[in-house]
């Protein structure tokens, strides 16, 4: 079988694999010998976006680093569901850390590897949005500022899901969480745009910053592979839908990731040394409403009556992203 451009006529370019391509051209996730770094039996909810994102990212890193990686994990959903004592779903060298110090732990591991002369071993730190954008931001900024040789991956499910869906600084505007209820005069989380850690990372002018989505596997694998190969501090932010916290059906996880990208709410881009270097254009645009209305955390925007003002403000955020990144 030869490599053919028309191979994409059947499966398109967005499927995981493609029987018409040679094995070297297909994604890591399509490979029957993929590492399954986060394997079966973990206790994540049905349809967990974070579990999927973590397997994709770490499998890719394993392939890119030839199996030579060490991962430091922040407390959060990812740690709790993957590693309840004495079980672990990880099939990689993996080190526990507390909620806020993961970047520092990873920095230490990288320093140790350097001292021992094991420069081939790539160090990865990973955590959820709570551990990254709130609690661990100080340590993370330090890691960026020192340009430590660590790849930090944030799985952003937009709230503290593990402890019962409390708002984080990555929670999108107007979302209902346990701490931003829609009772009385309270209308969900703050209507402001909030905190973008990818942009904060860029402000440190580190070598590589990227965003990625579960709806764009090839793009995610490409970004992680290239990030693994670069020396210095790197940051990849993966949008990870959460059926429990967002109030969606467990089979909508990929659909949500897709709508977030296609609406412009979650721009896919990458930056080198602090400057945006590339972005994924979105083709036919989807109104933000299509994304919001299937999530219970935004139900108050539609019921008991439609909040046109709020929806227009939401659409403006997407429109701004589209203009800003040239999506």
């Amino acid at each position: 079988m030869t490599n053919r451009i028309d191979a994409f006529c059947q499966a398109g370019a967005l499927t995981v694999g493609n029987r018409l391509l040679t094995p070297s051209m297909i994604s890591t996730q399509a490979n029957e010998y993929r590492n399954n770094s986060l394997t079966s039996g973990h206790r994540a909810c049905r349809g967990c976006g974070e579990a999927l994102a973590a397997r994709w990212a770490i499998d890719t890193a394993m392939r890119a680093a030839g199996g030579q990686i060490v991962v430091a994990n922040a407390t959060g959903c990812l740690e709790v569901f993957s590693t309840p004592y004495p079980e672990s779903a990880w099939r990689i060298p993996w080190i526990h850390s507390v909620f806020g110090n993961t970047p520092a732990v990873a920095t230490g591991v990288a320093a140790a590897m350097k001292v021992k002369g094991k420069t081939g071993i790539r160090v990865i730190a990973q955590g959820g949005d709570g551990g990254t954008t709130d609690i661990g931001l100080g340590c993370l900024s330090g890691m960026f500022e020192r340009n430590d040789d660590v790849l930090y991956i944030c799985y952003d499910n937009e709230a503290y899901m593990n402890t019962g869906v409390q708002r984080s600084s990555a929670t999108p505007p107007m979302a209902r969480t346990a701490t931003t209820p829609t009772l009385g005069s309270s209308r969900g989380s703050s209507p402001d745009i909030g905190k973008s850690v990818p942009l904060i990372a860029m402000a440190h002018q580190i070598p590589f910053v990227a965003t990625a989505s579960l709806a764009h596997l090839a793009d995610l694998e490409s970004k992680i592979s290239r990030a693994v190969a670069i020396r210095g501090a790197r940051y990849v932010h993966i949008h990870s839908p959460c059926p429990l916290g967002w109030g969606t059906e467990s089979n909508q996880t990929i659909l949500l990731a897709r709508l977030a990208v296609q609406s412009g709410l979650f721009p896919l881009f990458e930056a080198k040394d602090g400057e945006v270097a590339d972005r994924t254009t979105i083709g036919p645009r989807v109104p933000v409403e299509d994304y919001l209305k299937i999530q219970k955390r935004f139900r108050h925007l539609f019921r008991p009556q439609r909040n046109d003002e709020a929806l227009a403000a939401y659409q403006a955020i997407a429109d701004y992203n589209i203009r800003r990144f040239g999506l």
Binding site: C9, E32, G41, A44
Partner: protein, 551 residues
């Protein structure tokens, strides 16, 4: 094992934790019936052979195709491809050009001389097939592959029936037909040509046949009463087609009128054009919407300069003039006379008003005829006479090569069961793979590849084939456009998108994917993200340890 301080348990893998117990619904791989297959009168498994064609494996594509239809190069040219009308791809961009691909695969087989697999064993039974048209050839082929001896009796000098005499060369060159018939013959089907069967019962006794399939078609031209003067030049469409096919074309003159609105009328008008008629005129009693001719046939005819006079009936024929009455449609859609007449100047009139079944050979089997002038058959294609089966134009008003080939297959399966003393039970059909079952996000827009077409001006002077071949690049591209509706095409989405790593992928042996139900939590992402709708979520039969009403 020596443990660190305050640690009492040995480390374990999460694999000991069987999360499959969480599941309320389980995903299962299913096959849904693609709309193309569903609409194919020959019962082809189009999606399956396109699967191999997309890999460039035309040999395997052909092998799968001829399980149902022994004559793909023929069918790819003459079929009106309802599969393409049904194709889900038309909701995305344009239908897959299935007929052009079938023709490509069929022509590849002829080019490379691929032959049919011989039957695994001989049954010792002998079946008589009467008529070597598409129904008879198809029945003979399928019976032979099932291990029966088959002898085909044909009244004409060569096999092919209406495919040889009823379809003009510019749609279907004869060397293609010859090649596909030769391949059936090479499988061990015996042909007795130039032999008309006059007494079927006698022949069955004499030849010790265990069963018979009748496929003699509908060959008598249907006539309409038109008062005519002696010198009026009136012909029937079948004789025009037949004589043209025999290289003995009739003299039609410069101005030709064709009466009728079916595909045969279009074919005859197009022949008349090639024989020198300047503007052949088709006269039809109803409207364009009610015309039985296929839209593409009308389009091709109009391109070649054929004119059509709708809502008109021919009332009288004189030497160089025909009287036409204007018609109107009543509320039932039947044409009714208006009393308005006009004259059309023309040299000849060709009647293309349909064909009737010739019952004359069936002495002693007269009771087979039903009220519509067709042969009566039951759902097993068997006539009221045990062991006598029939198909094709004799039993149906569909009157297409495709339907006839489908009848031949169906009859062969029933005859096979009959010969074993059984009754044929068709496999249950899968549910339809409608567009709503697909996830179109994964399919990108790709323009259809079409066949080259002979310039309309050149068509006036040549019987060369109007439609050309797809080249290999376009054949590959076009077969890859198949959406594989309702059937897995190995895109790896289920394998890659499962958050629980609960899909096993083992290429090469048996099914490529298998669900690991020990770990599958039943989230349904695999089913939602399957492009072709080949995964279905099925509710689990939940068993509760504590029986009794839970309030």
């Amino acid at each position: 094992m020596r443990k660190p301080f305050a640690t009492t348990l040995n480390p374990e893998s999460s694999l000991t934790n069987h999360t499959g117990s969480w599941r309320a619904e389980r995903p299962v791989y299913v096959h849904r019936l693609p709309l193309c297959n569903h609409s194919c009168a020959a019962g082809e498994d189009i999606q399956s052979w396109l699967y191999y064609a997309a890999m460039g494996n035309y040999r395997e594509a052909w092998r799968v195709l001829v399980r149902d239809n022994p004559m793909p190069a023929t069918m790819g040219r003459v079929c009106y491809h309802p599969c393409e009308t049904a194709c889900n791809r038309s909701s995305l961009d344009q239908s897959v050009n299935i007929h052009a691909l079938e023709r490509y695969v069929g022509d590849e087989a002829i080019r490379h001389g691929w032959t049919f697999d011989r039957p695994a064993s001989e049954s010792g039974k002998h079946v008589l097939v009467v008529g070597a048209g598409p129904a008879g050839l198809s029945a003979a082929y399928h019976l032979r592959r099932l291990g029966h001896s088959v002898t085909v009796y044909e009244a004409g000098p060569s096999a092919g029936g209406m495919m040889r005499f009823g379809i003009p060369q510019f749609r279907f060159p004869r060397h293609i037909l010859d090649a596909e018939i030769a391949r059936i013959s090479a499988l061990g089907v015996a042909f007795v040509l130039n032999t008309r069967v006059d007494d079927l019962a006698e022949l069955m006794r004499e030849g010790k046949f265990d069963a018979v399939f009748l496929g003699t078609g509908a060959q008598i031209a249907h006539r309409a009463y038109i008062p005519a003067c002696d010198s009026a030049h009136i012909l029937d469409a079948l004789s025009v087609l037949r004589n043209t096919a025999d290289d003995n074309p009739p003299q039609l003159g410069r101005r030709v009128v064709v009466y009728g609105g079916g595909n045969t009328a279009m074919d005859v008008a197009r022949i008349a054009r090639r024989l020198g008629a300047e503007e052949p005129l088709v006269v039809y009693r109803r409207t364009r919407e009610r015309m039985p001719a296929h839209e593409s046939e009308l389009r091709d005819a109009v391109e070649e300069g054929i004119k059509v006079k709708w809502l008109s009936a021919i009332r009288r024929a004189d030497e160089h003039s025909f009287t036409v009455e204007k018609m109107t449609l009543d509320q039932n859609g039947s044409p009714q006379p208006t009393g308005e007449f006009e004259n059309i100047e023309a040299d000849s009139l060709v009647l293309a008003l349909g064909q009737d079944v010739d019952m004359s050979f069936m002495e002693g089997l007269k009771d087979l005829e039903n009220e519509n002038g067709l042969i009566r058959v039951n759902e097993h294609m068997m006539t009221p006479h045990t062991g006598v089966f029939a198909g094709g134009d004799m039993v149906s008003t569909q009157r297409t090569v495709t339907a006839a080939i489908g009848h031949g297959k169906k009859a062969a399966r029933n005859i096979d069961a009959f010969l074993r003393g059984e009754e044929f039970v068709p496999a249950p059909k899968h549910g339809l793979a409608t567009f709503e079952k697909l996830n179109p996000w994964y399919y990108s827009q790709v323009e259809e590849s079409t066949q080259p077409v002979l310039e309309p001006v050149r068509r006036a002077t040549t019987f060369d084939e109007v439609l050309g071949d797809l080249d290999e690049t376009h054949a590959l591209l076009e077969s890859s456009r198949c959406l594989s509706c309702g059937n897995c095409f190995e895109c790896d989405n289920c394998y890659g998108f499962c958050p629980d790593n609960a899909v096993a992928k083992t290429p090469g042996k048996g099914p490529v994917y298998e669900f690991k139900y020990d770990y599958c939590k039943g989230c349904g992402i695999c089913a939602a993200e399957c492009p072709s709708g080949a995964i279905q979520m099925v509710p689990e039969q939940l068993e509760f340890a504590h029986a009794g009403a839970a309030g």
